[in-house]
């Protein structure tokens, strides 16, 4: 018996099912980011997903913190009684722009086979290439579920100004979704990013590459205009009201009993044109000097452990930015921090 297909009914049913699917997604709000093939089929990533040219870096930027962290090796690594877990948060200098995973700060720390409290130190790179204290705190908050024994919070002045606090990743994770944005169609970008992240897991596992390494890049600027301006600040006052200092306190609150070391990260100190006015592309001397004084005072007032490593590296250990280090620079930094890690046993 030949069965006739009523195409109109097929079409209407298809549309109906699609609408139902969208409504179910909107009402149920499945935590899709928790779904990950990393740490099972694919090797966990050694740093958080970030990539501006995915086809070359086999990596991409997305906003879903669940998806980002579940792709990280820390998510798939059960903490043993022999592990002293060090989590390093911060900006692109921690993430490791232009560096292979093993060349980054955490890579160098792990290579040193340190021990603390009679346990083996394992450092995890949870830096993300956005300079913002709010972003750092957001990451720190998420990170706490991975039971760190020590947190290293690498920062620099440019993460402090209030105007620098909002970044796409912060905004996306703070905003309230409308009903439309909760549907499958409305949230399609997140679904697509999640799928692409899983697909790039093949290339990450196959190559160990997670960023594009250009043959040549422009070195960090060392000659400057005689410009003393810094954001909206007026020399010589680095107005605390325009800095997100509350985020530091929030970070220490989140860390609670877990030791947190706040580190003023190394930066390039230029000796080029007008270097008597500016240290580097980011900072005029007056603002940065004021910042260092302020940080010393605040950390003393609050009894925070603060380490100032701003000038430990010569200018030739920086790559394309005043805060991006060479592998040798990272090694020197790791050696400087090793003392604090080994001495941080509670």
């Amino acid at each position: 018996m030949k069965s006739e297909i009523n195409f109109t009914r097929v079409f209407i049913k298809g549309i109906f099912l699609f609408i139902i699917f969208n409504l179910v997604v909107a009402l149920w709000q499945p935590n899709i980011g928790k779904f990950s093939l990393y740490n099972s089929i694919f090797t966990g990533r050694e740093r958080l997903p970030f990539g501006e040219n995915p086809k070359q870096s086999y990596n991409l930027s997305l906003f879903d913190l669940d998806a980002m962290f579940t792709s990280h090796v820390i998510h798939g690594t059960e903490k043993t009684e022999y592990e002293f877990r060090v989590i390093v948060i911060g900006d692109s200098s921690v993430w490791g722009t232009l560096l292979k995973p093993e060349e980054t700060l955490t890579g160098q720390l792990n290579e040193m086979h340190l021990s603390a409290c009679g346990k083996n130190v394992t450092a995890y790179n949870l830096g993300y290439p956005t300079i913002s204290l709010t972003k750092d705190v957001m990451m720190l908050d998420y990170t706490m579920q991975y039971e760190p024994d020590l947190i290293l919070w690498m920062t620099t002045l440019d993460a402090f100004p209030i105007e620098k606090q909002s970044s796409p990743i912060v905004e996306e994770n703070q905003k309230q979704k409308t009903f439309w944005e909760k549907t499958f169609i409305g949230d399609r970008r997140a679904w697509a990013d999640l799928i692409r992240l899983q697909i790039y897991g093949v290339m990450w596992s196959a190559t160990g590459i997670d960023q594009f390494y250009p043959d040549n890049y422009e070195k960090a600027q060392t000659d400057f205009e005689p410009d003393e301006s810094y954001h909206n600040f007026v020399k010589p006052n680095l107005d605390k009201n325009l800095l997100a200092l509350n985020m530091l306190a929030e970070g220490f609150n989140i860390a609670g009993e877990i030791p947190l070391i706040l580190v003023n990260e190394p930066m390039l100190i230029s000796s080029g044109n007008n270097s008597d006015i500016r240290y580097n592309f980011f900072y005029p001397r007056w603002a940065y000097d004021e910042y260092r004084n302020m940080m010393n005072e605040i950390s003393e007032e609050n009894n925070w452990q603060y380490v100032d490593l701003w000038d430990i590296l010569p200018a030739n250990e920086f790559t394309n930015s005043a805060i991006h280090l060479t592998p040798a620079g990272e090694k020197i930094l790791a050696e400087s921090l090793a003392l604090y890690i080994e001495g941080s046993c509670q």
């Binding site: 297909i5 195409f7 109109t8 097929v10 079409f11 995915p54 086809k55 070359q56 799928i195 692409r196 697909i199 790039y200 093949v202 290339m203 596992s205 196959a206 190559t207 160990g208 590459i209």
Partner: protein, 469 residues
Amino acid sequence: MTIIQILIIVFFTLLFSFIKRGRDLFLLIASVLIIFWLQPALPIRGFDFWIPTLTLIITIFSWYITTDNTFNRKNIFTLVIIASIILLLNVTRYFSFAQIFTPSRPPQIEITFIIFLIFGLVLFLLRKISASFLTFGLILLLGIFLILKIPAWTLWLSSSLRGFVGQSVETASALDIRWLGFSYVAFRLIHTIRDKQAGRLPSVDLSEYITYVIFFPAFTAGPIDKIERFIKDLRQPFAGLNTEIFFNASQRLIIGLFKKFVIADTLALIALNDTNATQVNSTFWLWILVYAYAFQIYFDFSGYTDIALGIAKFIGINLPENFASPYLKPNLTQFWNNWHMTLTQWFRAYFFNPVTRWLRSWQKPLSMPMMIFLTQVATMVLIGFWHGVTWNFTIWGLWHGLGLFIHNRWSDFTKAKASEWANTSTKQSILNISGIIFTFHFVALGWIFFALSSPVTSWNVILKLFGVD
């Protein structure tokens, strides 16, 4: 073609299919406009306008030398329409807002008039058609084909053209000349010329001929239809869309879009290429990349075919199938009978069969195995050349030519034993499944030469796949 371009084409095709009347004119005008619209921008000044124009001129010449049906009123009307479209597109040079169909600003209109004049003069000089024009047409097409497919020759052409229009010769590149759809256009033209020589070509008017050669759904990626089959559909009265045709065509189109833009484009992220071939650090993942390429190329080609078939169905043209589950075939011969079928049929009709007949006609014919070896290897190497005259495509062609020959001999040798052994359905299934797996892997290994540009890198990949570093 991008998904946006495809959706725009679908929209206007559907719009027309509801109007119903004047299908031949719609197909002609749409096809002519679309070859300008799809042509990518080229760095040589004005050349992205001249390439589609040249496609039309070559097509008209081919029709002229193959037809018995010269310039009657209908054909002159077609010529006027095409000339008007070219001139109208050319006139948009003076109105930037109207440059929708050309990738860059069209050249000066005086040059177009001069070209039309030369074109008319040549047609006048060729008014007494002789058989030698057909051979000349074939040689001309093959010549253009070789220039476009041999990178060194393409570079020479690019340098010459750059010099001619007063642009820097130093920056010339073989990529300067991307003649969209020429491979398919050339195959269709050669088919009509060879059929004319064999006395098989049906009588077609200019409008039908041009529509056949540059039919917009199949212009960029095939399939390569036969003119006698195509005009049969074209000459059928078009009754417009009914629900069944609409849903069948839509289904085909959606499947094609899904294959191309979801599966193939996703697999492209992890498919083997020149960059990742040297980056992969394990044999297991290298196999995954090779598999990804094998499936990507299948879903890409067959997806485009589905899209072409779907769009053509909306307007009552049933293009031939091009892929029939080729990776599920138990031997290489069957694979090639089901992979890019219209291409292999073309080569069978216009190369393999004539060469075989010629070899058989020798006074002292070659042995059968030698004849099979020569024809199969030569055919597959030519198919390789169709993709580009490079060492890698040559090796890819040799790989398949030798594979087909070995399968032919093996099959002759083992046929009786295999059927004797496979006397139960289980054994038949075992034979079939192992054949499918073996054939797929043979084809997948062949794709390595297709995907990469260097024989050395390709060989290194093969060594690594088998654990030899």
